[in-house]
Amino acid sequence: MQNTIALTVDHHPVAIERVLQVARYRGFNVTGLRLTRANDHRQDLFLDVVSDRNIELLLKQLTKIFHVLDLNLVSLEQNKAEVVELRKSL
């Protein structure tokens, strides 16, 4: 099943690496990645993932990453950037 996760992460060199490492390790293939710089301290990351596993597994693990400041599940099936669920916000 395909999903898109919208994250706001620290503008920190290792932040993206940690997100990708967790996605891979938890059994989610990253099929797309879009990164934009929100300001000097934050960047917005849209991550497309595919897995047979429940997306909740990945969302909960990503929430634990220190550099992840905000995290939302965006519904890909509706084909628009609609926030399905606010999961973490600082």
């Binding site: 290792v14 940690r18 390790y25 909960k60 634990k64």
Partner: protein, 554 residues
Amino acid sequence: MTGADLITDYLEKHEVQHVFGYPGGAIMPIYDALYRSSVQHFLCRHEQGAGFAAIGYARATGKTGVCLATSGPGATNLLTALADAKLDSVPVVAITGQVSQAVMGTDAFQELDVLGLSLAVTKHSILVSHVDELSAALDEAFAVAQEGRPGPVLIDVPKNIQLEDCGLKVAEPSYQSSQNNSGVTANNETAIYHAQELLKIAQRPVAYIGGGVMMGSAVPALREFLSVTQIPAVSTLKALGSVARDYPHDLGMLGMHGRECANHAVQECDLLINLGARFDDRVTGELAGFAPNAKVIHIDIDAAELNKIRAADCGVLGNVRDVLPLLKVTTNCDAWRSHCQQLLSTYPWRYDAPGKGIYAPRLLRDLSDAMPTNSVVCADVGQHQMWIAQHMRFSHPQNHLSSGGLGTMGFSLPAGIGAQVARPQDPVFVICGDGSFMMNVQELGTIKRFQLPVKIVVIDNQRLGMVRQWQQLFFDGRYSETDLSDNPDFSTLAKAFDIPACYVENQSDVPAAMHELLNTSGPFLLHVRIDPDENVWPLVPPGAANHNMLTETN
């Protein structure tokens, strides 16, 4: 004040009294600062030993263990210990030296991408990029290591930053935790009510107690909960010692090598109350067949554990310590309690092994009965580890240190060193197999250097015992690379480190040897030879449900 001075100053101000480590080029400025510091450094003989010593220190007290290593191979030698801390949720801060920023990325001498290596084995890691960030990085590391579900944090400090003048000012603490470490959140009120209702109507409840009880400082709350509810209790490896020793409904450890009564009770229960445990595969056996008739209440401080392995009928996010007082309800399950008592009687442990040789379960039970109740037991990994869990009793989970999630051989000797440093007034026993003992045997040098009165018991079957047992049971007796009959003489080895030792192989010699072990004031090694073919029972084979245990008779 240089960056290195700031680090040692920070450690002093935050009451870090002991650190474990090994110096090297990239961390020399920090060691130079340590030379002038009141922080006591324990030189280990391998960075892995330093890492496990920090773990033992943390697990025996609940404080954060601190270890130091240099760049490159020093840092990589820490990784196994950091992984162990991650899987067992132990608060550790590792400070590593890194090559100077000017040469980072140029394949410099002893340079590695330690930050990259740390991603899989740490809760969080930081590469300090400016001396002005150092104080905040230390704040962040120590806070993250302890908050919520504890875990290891690594700080990698380039050498030039260690040497750089940071001025006399020390940055004010800036880290704001985003995690609520205590209290029950408002969203849990409905869940708490649901849990109370489930408890009231349950006819066959079982409390499944995990390591989160100890980590959440919830042992008193647990004992109070059990005394009110009188629910039969089973424990994971890390939770052993959480239940009061005189609690009549303690069924012991569950899982792959758990007690038969514990496994049967869980399989028959209609309500499983998971307190800070994670449904580890060593516990559940074949997952679809685990507690097949039970509704599940799952209380955990880590939201990622709720519904990860087993769906919870009632998930409560919070510290067990804060939730349990809200669940003290009277349960109506007298018949079930009687049934569990019957299970305890039906599946007793037996110690009447024939022959002159030493039966390890009996020796460990006798040692457990003889040692003071404030003793710390550090187990290594393998058959002896399971026998310790089965046959020894602990008055508190901080008195039983055992590598659970990673199952790292070589854990016990350095962990015992850390525990002894943390609790100098308490006896510390390192109990290991012959294979495990050899993995970090160099730490006998640390015991000698600091004259730590650690008591070491080597259960020697001249085999990699647990693997040998699996080869016997599941690989048609093809014993590939599990023969360790060319071990050195452990007594002579200990004496080379000025550690007195004695050897026994007959049961009749055990009482005198145990007396000498318990009454020697300094370090001591007891080398115990046992039958190489002795197996750990019961055993839940791979792919089987927990009620389908193999025993000695089947």
